[in-house]
Symmetry: C2
Subunit: 477 residues, 2 copies
């Protein structure tokens, strides 16, 4: 299914990405413009992402629920910034059951409004707070330029929506989730994201302020990979989410919202993939280990297969696939599973049966350098070690790549140069005009203001005015 | 939150149901007509249902994927029966990104058409078969009369869609899933369903034939709780799902589809619930055990809580909730968790601290009869036993209730009488006219023709013509 080579990244990164997504059978184009079909292999990866995030949500006291797909148009209009931000992107149902609807229904682009409406019903007293709800859902935004996983009309995500008694608690929640996302990205996906504050221009429509995790892709462009928004009292006021405090006074809640989407699959592809295809971090890989029996005759097949089954049984704690197809060569299979990014391949041939060995080949290190001969009786321990090494090595490599492509510009001309092929980390006065000028001149935008800065102060790289914090400028997906 | 008593089932079953769903905080009405909000407690129950089904799907070789929410209107029109069945129920998007769409998009009522389209792209050879894909999704049907969980505009389900090389394999798959659903319903939900064949009138629009599992609710009405359809080559022909067989001949595939939805939550409520509220089968209950500390002072609280924590730790393998609220009485808490159907309550007071005991109260047996004094040092083993007993007892009780409300009518007048308050099991000639007459006269419909019949033959209970099989007639949700 994937005999042809991918277009090399250096030649055409975007072509490479599109080919990889299809050849690795992660996703396919749907018959409706801009929509995607997530194929079983891609969905299994998403399910592992879901599980890793969901476990973290539940461990921090969050619960899941489900709110409707359809939102009355009037709801979106209640928060001014919000409707301005989203109205160009709406899909609208105007006909139901053969009748024209009196009030058109919006297919949710995000759920702050409908969840706000329900919270105003449910929350009465300080005893009801905090409310910490997440939902796993599909949402629709009518995007004009789409790419599989990165930007599709319909996409899948989780959206957390919380309500709190105080401004401080809401801010703590917003930051807690930012930390949770960072931990997930770094420790599960081996994607070394930078967490930070979005600029006012780049924040969520309706938020007080937004945080994001930003990842560097293989072409050095940035990908916003998750966001956490402090909504202040904007939605609480628009939807009358109120509670009686301990003094019996009516107060507005403070709310937050936050999300990670199927876009994160794109982050994994473009952080780790190479010209041979996908490379998946072992912790999230749907198949962690593929076993390829090596045989040239039915006799050899009969000799090899019992050992293959034995090794598979010894690896019961891992996600293992045996590729025992007889209609294709081992070389074809290697290529196939390399395309799909399986972290570790085990080859077992007649010689291995004789010697009690297994040849292990790491996906992240091509050729001989990535091969290790393992004794069959040590297989589980050795494989476990190898998978940990691969996970750590992917993170290290991506971190080194990221750091070697972040530069501090000397002056504005230098910044213009740097963002052509990397990120610029520079003082910024936080004025939207300077941000706009950079975008105009270079297509780069502010990605985020990192939270742990070295301190001190400087002069804005654009206008030379005093600046209190540094920001990342980069071209982004 | 649930001080008031429910309307008794005997007084108004439908009122009882509606009140229970809201007071147990399973679901709430959405601001859009006919849509529901599934609240965290209800969603946790659905997640457990999902997990139990998903494990069974994966164990039988199925994989998950995700297909788009939007379907071009023209796709639905390709299968004649299918479009006739679904067109009165469609929600249609006519505006996207501020523009009127050239081709309106249907919000999927089910996904045979769009999945059929993709299968025609993916399937080339007999080597690609079978394709065994499931998706967990939301679907929309523009229903006029809605009830929370039972019939909502948007609902949640899994829909399996498989493609096979032969008619026999497709039929085997259809039946395998019917068995799987039966096993799930009986052994996880303690809902003693009857599996069987739907009549031609009641089958899925576009299927060759459909099977269903039918459950008897507490008011003796039937609830179709899952369906499995053999689609023959209808969709394969409409969407050109073809493969090259081993002789290099182009053949149409044989396809199936099957689903269980959030409706099943309604089945659980109405199979087990009583006038105090919900009763959940332990295997699916989000909270299996609630521990209520009994204390009348801060001192007693300090005395009791360490033991509560100890007991909780001993029950780490179960889903346990400690209700340590101090603003409400133990009696209030009992009522509260009874409403929510938690299978087992553990009470721990100062006396229990002294005696090394815990009082266990079964949700399914009210009052003293359901109470057992347990030694703290045997808590895990005893609780495990009790939960198994409750699970078995719920199934037994529901089975007895079902069987005592199924009657074999002597004649047509008897049938008319029986279906007023039970199911009639009777010979039927399988003619749609007889089915229509029963519906007209009694509102009862054919539910299913069970697969394991005693054999023999008889005369149709309606027209007296020869009949080969018996069918269940019942009023249904």
């Amino acid at each position: 299914m994937s005999e042809d080579k991918l277009t090399p990244r250096a030649e055409n990164y975007s072509e490479w990405y599109n080919q990889l997504v299809q050849r690795a059978e992660l996703a396919d184009y749907a018959p409706v413009r801009g929509c995607m079909v997530v194929r079983p292999y891609g969905w299994a990866l998403w399910e592992n992402i879901q599980q890793a995030l969901d476990g973290r949500f539940k461990a921090t006291g969050h619960v899941n629920a489900s709110f409707p797909l359809f939102i009355p148009m009037s709801f979106l209009e209640k928060e001014k910034e919000h409707v301005e931000g989203f109205s160009p992107e709406l899909a609208v149902v105007t006909i139901g059951g053969g009748q024209t609807l009196e009030e058109p229904l919006v297919v949710r682009p995000t759920s702050e409004t409908i969840i706000g409406h329900m919270y105003s019903k449910w929350i009465k007293s300080y005893r009801d707070l905090p409310v910490l709800i997440n939902q796993w859902a599909n949402v629709v935004r009518w995007e004009m330029r789409t790419r599989l996983f990165l930007r599709t009309l319909e996409f899948f995500w989780q959206e957390g929506h919380t309500a709190h008694a105080t401004a401080q608690e809401a801010e703590e929640e917003t930051r807690r989730i930012l930390d949770l996302y960072t931990d997930f990205a770094v420790n599960e996906a081996a994607v070394p994201v930078v967490p930070g504050l979005k600029s006012k221009t780049e924040k969520f429509a309706g938020a007080l302020h937004s945080y994001s995790i930003e990842a560097m892709m293989g072409d050095t462009k940035a990908l916003q990979s998750g966001t956490s928004h402090n909504l202040g009292q904007n939605f609480a006021k628009a939807f009358e989410i109120q509670y009686l405090d301990q003094n019996n006074q009516l107060q507005h809640c403070w709310t937050t919202s936050w999300g990670v989407s199927t876009r994160f699959v794109g982050a994994i592809i473009m952080t780790h993939g190479d010209d041979q295809g996908l490379i998946l971090p072992p912790r999230l890989a749907p198949i962690q280990i593929v076993i390829v029996p090596i045989f040239r005759s039915d006799e050899e097949f009969s000799l090899v297969m019992p050992v293959v089954e034995q090794v598979k049984a010894a690896l019961a704690g891992f996600r293992v696939k045996v590729d025992d197809r007889s209609e294709v060569t081992p070389g074809f299979k290697y290529h196939d599973w390399e395309m799909r990014g399986v972290p570790l391949r085990l080859e077992i041939g007649p010689k291995d049966v004789q010697n009690g060995t297994v040849m292990a080949a790491r996906r992240d290190i091509p050729g001989k350098a990535g091969k290790t001969l393992i004794q069959q009786d040590q297989i589980a321990a050795q494989v476990s070690e190898l998978l940990k090494t691969i996970q750590a090595s992917l993170l290290q490599r991506a971190t080194e790549f990221r750091d070697s492509n972040i530069h501090e510009p000397k002056d504005y001309a230098d910044l213009q140069n740097i963002v052509q092929n990397g990120w610029a980390y520079a003082w910024w006065c936080e004025d939207a005009a300077c941000e706009a000028k950079v975008k105009e001149d270079t297509k780069a935008t502010t990605r985020c203001i990192p939270l742990d800065q070295e301190g001190g102060s400087g002069r804005c790289i654009v206008c030379g005015q005093p600046a209190a914090r540094k920001v990342y400028f980069a071209r982004a997906y």
